[in-house]
């Protein structure tokens, strides 16, 4: 709870720094906090990753099981993304079914993956109309230090990049990698007092009026976008963020290529 009070006291301080074009932790406006991605951290999962982005800490597990396809896409696998803001991760998270914040986060992570078509869903079909692979992406947030959005998204992509289709377990031959054909990268910006900055810390997030998340693919095109928060943005601000996000995504994508 004390964290909350400190955050409150920091608000003015951060705001005042912003005016001087500075951030509390000394970062440049387009600079991310330290990002550490470890993969294969959960051996019961078909793919997994632990992401530490500054003080934020998430674990993503990918479980893959056979299931029935949707009637309108009989020859395509299914992606289901779930994210829980468990009370272990923050004094302000509560037990119970996911609320709108968690649902929004899960759906934006999901769209970043789905809309970038980074997974070739047609290769997740075992028997058309009958059996396809169901890919469950479960994001477990352990410590909320701000910008869960990007940490979750990085974790999901990293877990997928190392995930295996468990063919052997279901007598379908040898295990094979999940058919990934792109590496979408989500970049989140906030607007505070007219300034735009990337990768908000918890304190920055708490005083920002609005967030904009832009997911771009390795061709540098936009796959998904989400504004979250009450403060309006101008077209100029949005265009500025999109340009910045596409550049920053290229830099972050390098991290995935060495996984």
């Amino acid at each position: 709870m004390s964290n909350e009070i400190i955050a409150e006291l920091h608000k003015d301080y951060i705001y005042n720094l912003m005016v001087k074009q500075e951030r509390e932790d000394g970062r440049a406006f387009d600079q991310y906090r330290e990002l550490v991605i470890e993969t294969n951290v959960i051996n019961k999962a078909e793919g997994s990753a632990r992401v530490r982005l500054g003080d934020t800490h998430v674990v993503v597990g990918v479980k893959i099981q056979p299931g029935t396809p949707f009637p309108d896409t009989p020859d395509q696998g299914v992606i289901i993304t779930n994210l829980e803001l468990i009370p272990l991760a923050s004094p302000v998270f509560e037990s119970g079914p996911p609320r709108e914040d968690a649902i929004e986060l899960a759906r934006v992570v999901d769209r970043g993956i789905r809309e970038s078509q980074c997974i070739d869903l047609s290769k997740l079909c075992v028997t058309a109309g009958e059996k396809v692979w169901m890919v469950f992406i479960d994001v477990h947030v352990l410590d909320d230090g701000g910008n869960i959005m990007d940490a979750a998204s990085f974790g999901a992509v990293a877990a997928l990049l190392t995930a295996k289709l468990p063919n052997k377990r279901y007598d379908l031959g040898e295990d094979a990698p999940v058919p990934m054909r792109n590496v979408p990268v989500s970049v989140t910006a906030v607007e505070i007092g007219g300034s735009i900055m990337l990768d908000p810390s918890l304190n920055e997030e708490s005083i920002a009026g609005t967030k904009l998340t832009v997911t771009s693919n390795q061709e540098g095109d936009v796959s998904a976008m989400q504004k979250s928060g009450v403060q309006p943005l101008t077209t100029e601000q949005i265009n500025y963020i999109v340009d910045m996000a596409i550049e920053k995504a290229k830099e972050i994508r390098e991290k995935f290529l060495v996984i």
Partner: protein, 244 residues
Amino acid sequence: MSKPEKLIEDGIRIDVRRADALRHIKIEVGVLNRADGSCYFEFGGNKVMAAVYGPREVHPRHMQKSNSAVVRYRYNMASFSVEDRKRPGPDRRSIEVSKVSREALEPVIFQEYFPRSAIDIFVEILQADAGTRTAGINAASIALADAGIPMKSLISACAVGKVDDTLVLDLNKDEDNYGQADMPIAMTPDGRITLIQMDGHLTKDEFKEAIEMAKTGCLAIHELQKAALTEKYSAQMEGVNNEQ
């Protein structure tokens, strides 16, 4: 239906619109008796009813804010509004749509005028045809005005999409199903964007063009919204126009 071979032929879309044309819009203001404000809105095949209650007491109490009204938005699809019957009750999609729709409207509501009270916005989708969230926001914006809630301006919303590599305004259902991108936007009449979401594939240049296209669409809708309100409240509208 399965994917049509072409969604655009000679610049004309399957519903005989040009790329930058909106679908037919029909607006009825103040159609419900119980609600403090209401609006029935048709947007192509979308049929949407919005109602506003408030400012009124907040239940449960712990949701009260001491220095402003709390705005709540419930987007709900009728079971019969879609091809395959929808189970009644909120699902993850409708919870997200409710959230971003609320955030699209909050910036123009003078919430600080009504501490400890609630402004409740209910949007029912009676028939769905791509664009229900933007139809809902357009309707809700009018219902707020009809309820006499003090607002800085109206909010107008529409989507831009990409089909057959062409940017088009206000996607219909087939364009939504088989298109390459969908980007709903809501904005104030002076161009401040209060909602933007996107999925699919847009190059950076397409994106920038798309956002301009959406602006044009929103401004056209704004004129229709004003006209509908003016028709009902020719006298009272004076004040609202001045505020804009």
